[in-house]
Symmetry: none
Subunit: 239 residues, 2 copies
Amino acid sequence: MFGQVLKLKHERVAEQLAREIRGGRLALGSQLPGEHALATRFDVSRNTVRQALADLIRQGLIETRSGKGSFVTFDGRTIDDRLGWSRALAEQGVPTTVRILRLELVHEPELAERFDLQSAECVAVDRLRSLDEGRAISIERSLVPAVGPLRNLPEQGLTGSLYAALRSAGLTPVQGEEWVDLSRVTQSDAELLGCAPGDLYLRTQRLSRDARGEFVEYVESLLNPDRFRLHLRFGEASE
Amino acid sequence: MFGQVLKLKHERVAEQLAREIRGGRLALGSQLPGEHALATRFDVSRNTVRQALADLIRQGLIETRSGKGSFVTFDGRTIDDRLGWSRALAEQGVPTTVRILRLELVHEPELAERFDLQSAECVAVDRLRSLDEGRAISIERSLVPAVGPLRNLPEQGLTGSLYAALRSAGLTPVQGEEWVDLSRVTQSDAELLGCAPGDLYLRTQRLSRDARGEFVEYVESLLNPDRFRLHLRFGEASE
DNA sequence: CTTGAGAACCTGTCCGAACATGTTCAGAAG
DNA sequence: CTTCTGAACATGTTCGGACAGGTTCTCAAG
């Protein structure tokens, strides 16, 4: 199920600090305790604390300045929907709950044509994401190939995350394309999202393939622009 | 000035190994010496070697498998072409003209603080892009470091593209971050864009750095969502 | 010949320590 | 009052060591 145990110490430390940041106990701009203090508090070495802080930096939650300290850069409002495929989607932002709107086998000849897929048989997974307080903030409609264990998703239901299901089916997204534009919310989507029809939402469309170029996922998301911000890291330092 | 010495040991190690990989002395698929061997060869600790290897992994040059070793994954092509890059695509084939709104030396201590820049002295270049029929569709505000020939931009004017000017100043963007969200157009921007104040526009903010991590450009764009769509290609096939 | 125990490699994680360098500020020197 | 200096404390880098766990091969037992 959920709540997989983090065995790695630096992951546990990072996880705990991330909770405090996202939960608002560590506000935007506030300074974290020093590395020595954190090492004492979590009963780990400073190196382990530094590794945890490096994780938080990668997630964009904090930044650290030499000689000064580490400071929260997370504004508590927006959720980074990372275009960078390498980011684990587990490190999503604010606590949210997801409701499955649809989970069924479908035929998508149009998609198969457009992206040159081997088969038009897909599993459709539509999800409505809400803040824990209840407000809906996004709709995510995924199409994944109906192969292997994924074929049984409609009967068995989706227990963990969709990405976990894809992984256990041997599908790991490592390349693809993504488009971002603005879209007006339809009448039916507006009812789900609790907004007015015609409201402007961020729309992202992403096609993912694995290392061999096989189709992994096509997902179209409608994101509340007050809650989501897209974040992309590109290139590499030569260092 | 140029050719800055890499003082950090793990950078020197990574640099040397990267040279051997890119130079072909370490071929695609071949195994690197073990971490202990590298530590002995470079006369550093294994931790330092591991830090260097982590850099190479991030650059996509190698991958390491637990219990087996590190293997070259670089296929010999130039690395500069494999940037994941998001680009605002103007409607293909629609000619646009650009008007320079501002071109001057400015002081940006806030930007320098936020992104840890060496100097707060920048050249500001604001541009208004319009369809040839006249309608304005975007505002792009750039800040580039006031170094070398760029310093003279305000007096000499911008003849070619800003990208060309950066290149001739030795600044080539190869890494960075980009954010995308929605923004309401201010009163003054609305006049420039010929839209109503408060209209929703796509806003992108991009910070670019060169291979050494030096600041190259910070650009904030306001894009008419009817005219622009963002497109990103990410990842790479394994072959 | 097949199998399995184990040696001998490898990388992964974590520790405590040392020293370098950046930042701040109180207090001495001018 | 202004300026400089140094203590105090922050992060940055590197070290050597320890142990866990994955991988491969050898070689003895069956």
